[in-house]
């Protein structure tokens, strides 16, 4: 429990620092948030695939990082940031704000569940990971322009 609290405190400090640097550039800030998601996935996916040994502490730390990065994610798409900075945000974020907000809220809900779930074993971790990971494609389908 102490380790969990320390992990949460440390990542909150770390993400807090990133947020304060990029505060006036929502496009850079949301791209950084997505990179944080990617870094966490880099830890989580190999464990879920059975390519890396399961490490419950590392899994929790990754979920906590994602959870922190998601907290203000919905605020990083103000009017006027539809284009620029290599954004892959689709116009639908602004034309279908309600749908986008729901997608972000669903993601945050699954992350809140993940950081408080019992993920002591790989079998317990996999469904929690699956629920979180499902959000990536669901949201990118409607609100992100394909790469390349």
């Amino acid at each position: 429990m102490l380790l969990r609290t320390l992990t949460i405190a440390a990542t909150m400090l770390a993400t807090g620092a990133t947020v304060s640097i990029a505060q006036d550039d929502p496009i850079a800030e949301r791209q950084e948030a997505m990179k944080t998601m990617g870094r966490s996935m880099r830890v989580l996916v190999p464990m879920a695939r059975g390519q890396a040994d399961y490490d419950a502490e590392a899994a929790l730390a990754a979920f906590v990082q994602m959870n922190d990065a998601a907290q203000n994610y919905g605020d990083l798409f103000p009017e006027g940031t539809e284009t620029g900075g290599d954004t892959r945000a689709k116009p639908e974020i602004w034309t279908d704000r309600e749908g986008f907000d729901t997608a972000v809220a669903d993601f945050k809900e699954d992350l809140a569940m993940a950081v408080s779930a019992d993920i002591g074993s790989l079998d317990a971790f996999r469904p929690v990971f699956g629920a979180v990971a499902q959000n990536c494609g669901d949201c990118h389908e409607d609100y992100q322009v394909p790469e390349n």
């Binding site: 996935m41 990971a133 990118h140 389908e141 322009v145 394909p146």
Partner: protein, 309 residues
């Protein structure tokens, strides 16, 4: 002068007659269909083909998630550079779906792009790919589709609105004469006699219809076999559909395992998650057989690597 008018008139009449004959919808030979008589459908194979074929991506209700993706009520407005296609239902309901069809109707739709009332379908329904499927597989898929749920409410099917000349449906007959065939895109000698690669080719070029978005189109707006899977502008809007050949512009950095896992989970090796229409494709492929995802991955690593098309 009068004579010239007559000659001109005859020429125009002959031209129209030739157009009418050459653009006529053609159907599968009865003997081919008769060979399937008494076929015992393999529903598991039918379901696997349903997911590989991505039927739900276009034919489920536009916002359907989870189990609702099995309700094939139609209603999607499919955007394209030529206009908007209204996607019909294919549930077993006789009124709003294909419940009143025979297997011959279904096979002619999938392999010849012809409707039961003898009209050409637009190739946005990817029969240019489905044509490469075997009749046995189509019989299994047909049996599976007939067991899908009937929608509780009829969907509103958007009007198909195309710009000239794409709204001239009969002209598709000429297009088919040039571009519709059952021959594989990647020749046997490229792949050797590996049965996994042959399976991958069959799935990618046929049911999976990957080339419909991932290959550039040629001057006749057909998939370009010489730039096969080299990536193309996104037909549904912004961005590009990625190159999926084994080239630095494409999947050179991906292992076969990365490709198979990407199809299952939607994650790239850089842990980005596939967006746009591919997100829906992944939802389908997650339900397909693991060895088929692996066969597709093996084929994609075996075909000629090409720079972005």
């Amino acid at each position: 002068m009068r004579r010239l008018t007559v000659i001109l008139g005859v020429c125009v009449a002959l031209g129209l007659a030739a157009f009418w004959l050459l653009s006529a919808p053609t159907q599968l030979p009865d003997a081919d269909l008769a060979a399937l008589d008494g076929h015992e459908p393999d529903l598991q194979n039918g379901e696997n083909l349903f997911w590989v074929g991505g039927c739900a991506s276009c034919h489920a209700a536009p916002d359907a998630e989870g189990d609702a993706r099995a309700v094939l009520s139609g209603g999607l407005a499919l955007e394209s550079p030529y206009g908007v296609f209204g996607v019909p239902g294919i549930s077993p309901d006789p009124e709003t779906g294909i419940g009143g069809w025979s297997f011959a109707d279904f096979a002619n739709a999938m392999k010849r792009g012809v409707s039961p009332d003898g009209r050409h379908y637009y190739p946005s329904f990817p029969y240019a790919s489905y044509a490469k499927m075997t009749l046995t597989d189509l019989a299994d898929l047909w049996a599976y589709l007939q067991r899908m749920p009937v929608p509780e409410n009829a969907a509103v099917i958007p009007e198909t609105e195309l710009a000239f000349p794409f709204n001239m449906r009969r002209g598709i007959g000429l297009w088919k004469r040039v571009y519709l065939n059952e021959a594989p895109v990647i020749a046997d000698d490229v792949l050797g006699d590996d049965p996994v690669l042959a399976r991958g080719r069959y799935l990618v070029e046929g049911a999976g219809h990957c080339g419909e978005c991932h290959s550039p189109r040629n001057i006749g707006l057909a998939m370009d076999g010489s730039r096969w899977l080299a990536g193309a502008p996104n037909p549904e809007g912004e961005g590009r559909v990625p190159n999926i050949t084994d080239h630095p512009d494409g999947l050179a950095d991906w292992t076969e395992d990365d490709i198979a896992y990407g199809l299952e989970s939607g994650f790239t090796p850089a842990f980005d998650s596939m967006g746009g229409s591919m997100a829906s494709v992944v939802k389908n492929f997650a339900n397909a057989a693991a060895e088929d995802r692996a066969a597709i991955a093996a084929y994609l690593k075996a075909i000629p690597p090409l720079p972005d098309g």
